[in-house]
């Protein structure tokens, strides 16, 4: 049986903390381990940040939708914006061997490190990021 949940926030940076607190609290309620709560919440926050800033260009009339779907084996989170998308080919696959001193460009790489799968689905009016975290049955 699936446990699903969704909500939307306006595209302003002062709403990022709403997405963070709601995600953190919901994951704790589902008895995720402390490290997994942190990793999934941070990945969601990175996706929400991108959706607000790069996707919806901080237009408060545009929404960012978050939906959560938890089955016994995995959690799937979808973060959807109403923007024009971006060139995914410009994003490197993983962190370089040596630390980068650039002040930007870590968000998507971080998402890829924190969860098991990250997918990008261009829509007619926006972009959907799909984050998958597999769940260790012993931890449930």
């Amino acid at each position: 049986m699936k446990n699903t949940w969704s909500f939307s926030i306006p595209s302003t940076r002062d709403r990022i903390h709403v997405a963070l607190e709601a995600t953190d609290a919901w994951l704790r309620k589902q008895h995720f381990r402390e490290q997994d709560v942190h990793d999934v919440t941070l990945a969601v926050v990175e996706a929400v940040n991108n959706a607000i800033i790069h996707g919806n260009r901080e237009d408060p009339r545009k929404k960012v939708n978050l939906s959560f779907s938890l089955s016994p084996g995995e959690l799937v989170v979808r973060v959807t914006d109403q923007g024009k998308g971006f060139n995914l080919r410009a994003v490197p696959c993983c962190f370089p061997a040596h630390p980068s001193l650039a002040s930007h460009g870590r968000g998507i790489l971080l998402m890829r490190t924190l969860v098991d799968e990250v997918g990008f689905e261009p829509l007619k009016g926006g972009l959907r990021v799909r984050l998958v975290k597999r769940r260790d049955s012993k931890a449930s």
Binding site: H17, V45, E46, N49, F95, L101
Partner: protein, 117 residues
């Protein structure tokens, strides 16, 4: 300030909202004043995202260029894990406590108690 060391102690979640802007503003102001020793105490921070990491990296770069001292302390183990995967753990000077960070910057024992927890 503790002796000549500026201590910045952000609270809450540094994830691209107002707290992150506040940190950036505080650090920029110190750089404008040519501050030469800065410790950022992260002991009250639970989440730190890529935007905040960018601010820390920019601060590190600025202090290093000026041959000034920059350190982080009080880092939660979950944030340490994020620093490890982004390789930033290899960049920053980090200390477990504010007391240790201040000692490394030459503050005499006892003086940090005015500010430290």
């Amino acid at each position: 300030m503790i002796d000549d060391v500026a201590v910045v102690q952000p609270e809450g979640n540094l994830v691209g909202g107002g707290e992150t802007d506040q940190l950036e503003l505080q650090v920029r102001r110190l750089q404008d004043w040519n501050n030469e020793k800065l410790v950022i105490d992260l002991s009250e921070v639970s989440y730190l995202n890529s935007t905040a990491m960018g601010i820390l990296v920019a601060a590190y770069t600025n202090y290093k260029k000026r041959k000034a001292a920059f350190a982080l302390c009080g880092i939660d183990k979950r944030i340490k894990n994020v620093f490890a995967v982004t390789k930033l753990a290899m960049v920053f000077d980090t200390y477990t406590t504010l007391k240790e960070a201040l000692k490394a910057m030459g503050v005499e024992e006892g003086k940090e108690e005015k500010k430290g927890k």
